[in-house]
Amino acid sequence: MEREELKGALSRRNFMVKATLAGVSLVGFGALSSFLEACGAAPSATTKGINWAKATSLEGRPLSELVSAAKKEGFLNVIALPPNWANYGTMISTFQKKYGIKVNSFAPDDSSAQENNALSSLRGTSKEPDAVDVGPSFAVAGKKEGLYAPYKVATWDTIPDYMKDPDSYWYGDYYGVISFGTNLKYVSNPPKDWSDLEKPEYKGKVSIDGDPRTAADAFAAVWAAALAMGGSLDDITPGIDFFAHLKKIGNLVPTDNYPANIVNGTTPIAIKWDYLNLGYKYQWNGNPPYEVTIPPSGVLGGYYCQAISAYAATPAAARLWEEFIYSDEGQIIYLAGFAHPARYEDLVRRNKIPASLAAKLPPASAYAKAQFPTLAQTAKAAAVVQAQWGPKVLGA
């Protein structure tokens, strides 16, 4: 990820109404909002008889109709999409340029739970997110709570079955595996596999991305360790025990491995999603030198899911956004951010992946052994972590 993508190019929202003109702004807002709300969905969401707010697919219409409906709506609200996470910065800016629709990107570091909450708290307002990118268990919860609208993108059939909801309320967008990232400035001999982490030379250097009871990234790290230590998709306990051991011998640094912490040497060995670690590697460009490995003995895959909000502020734009993400162009943007797109196999089969990009990625063999848990397995493992992480690792 180039630094340039962090600056300027990305337009984050701005609804700035001066508080001192609150009276005027309230009137103005009232007018705008009631205009948008009065009709349930914006009237411009209807084109030649099709109400995009209710559309469950393109329904035979050409994409251009959706595009013009979206353009009439005028904007797109997205949430929890950091620019350097799976290349969302480029995804957003490309979408904006391509269709001339302004993208308001809110709360980039919100969690999946916060995204679902936003869908209900902000319902009926002009800030209602149009689409979300959440972890699978939250996708299921969101469907249950009626937060999403079903939609099948044009390329629906090429999304793997195990990554999508049969009723099309949510669908996996990209996946990654857990990897090791090592700041070579502080660690000259990077660990290659899970058992290496127990070596005394790594004392006070190993870290995961937060608390596994709350962060999907950290949770996956524990699970990947479990796979390597004799556990399975049905048994995450060896992973918890492994990290309890690391903490006891002092190898585990009890803090989050934010990029700043990796760079300043507080967490020089960072266990994170591969697309994050690879993103840092290319962003830092040797400064500091950063090596990324996928530990072979325990490879856990995790995917995130797209879903369209049932009360989207701009339903046509929301659907266009999904069509864009799942187009070849969108999926390759994910890959350029080192996140394997859901339709990766399909793209490989049709030879759509640029060679230069393929060269930057870790070898396919590293991903061959990736195991993806089912929703039931995830729920069970999460409960185990909730119950055991505190007592075993924190000693509380």
Binding site: K18, D109, N117, R123, G124, T125, V263, W284
Partner: protein, 259 residues
């Protein structure tokens, strides 16, 4: 010649405050393998989002100061003057914002105002909420200041000269607790400039939201921003203090007789 103990404590305090800032500064200037440079600062200061979000937070801060003062000064005065029995209740209420987690407060407020959706997306909701969040500090500060002056005597004196309640409050009481109002304003400004949870939950892009985001994604950005935000907020405070001195706010003046 100041007493030795005073010098020692001031030095200790100064060291404790300044060393972490120095450490942050040092990290913010590290741009490369061994180099020191200002590239981190340049990229931050040139960011559109930075300027937008900072100004937005500043505006929220000013709004909160105004609303909070308008609400709290008369209230504190009234309670002290007429109904001190209510003090316990008010003290408990004033501590409440500290314990109700901002997350819960935001969810509750969002739910309550969901029938007026336009309010939820208007920045005014943040000002309304921030008055509550700063309540413990504004109340404490104003109450301490009020009790330190002889408001009873002042009130009676002014009343005997025929002043109405508003005149008393604005021209007799307020000038005397001006130092407290100023202290309360400082606290409010910095609290608002640092409040993250509420703003992020309602998807507003305030300065702290921006800082958290940069801290989670950029290597040196957090340190740079930390210092910039510190410096800028300090300038804002100094601005308020300067305005205060221009209007002639001094220490609480000597009063008639002891407390």
């Amino acid at each position: 010649m100041p007493p030795l103990w005073a010098i020692i404590w001031l030095v200790l305090g100064g060291l404790y405050f300044l060393v972490p800032l120095y450490a942050t500064a040092q990290f913010s200037f590290e741009t490369g393998s061994h180099g020191l440079g200002t590239s981190s600062y340049l990229s931050v200061l040139q960011s559109q989002d930075f300027i937008h979000d900072f100004v937005f937070s500043l505006e929220l801060a000013v709004g909160t100061v105004l609303l909070s003062s308008a609400l709290m000064v008369p209230t504190v005065y009234w309670i002290n003057l007429h109904i001190p029995q209510v003090r316990r209740v008010v003290e408990f209420i004033s501590i409440l914002p500290l314990v109700v987690p901002p997350v819960a407060l935001a969810v509750g407020v969002a739910h309550f105002f969901s029938f007026v959706p336009t309010l939820l997306t208007n920045p005014i909701i943040l000002v309304l909420a921030y008055v509550i969040i700063t309540l413990p500090f504004s109340y404490r500060s104003l109450d301490a200041g009020m009790r330190a002056i002889n408001f009873k005597v002042l009130t009676e004196a002014a009343q005997s000269l025929g002043a109405s309640w508003w005149r008393i409050m604005l021209f007799v009481i307020l000038p005397n607790i001006a130092a407290s109002v100023l202290a309360s304003s400082f606290l409010i400004v910095t609290i608002v400039m640092g409040e993250y949870t509420f703003a992020s939950l309602l998807l507003f892009n305030t300065f702290p939201v921006y800082i958290e985001y940069v801290g989670q994604t950029s290597a040196h950005g957090a340190a740079t921003l930390a210092l910039i935000s510190f410096a800028l907020t300090w300038l804002a405070i100094l601005g308020i203090a300067w305005i205060g001195s221009r209007i002639g706010i001094k220490q609480p003046s000597t009063t008639i007789g002891a407390r």
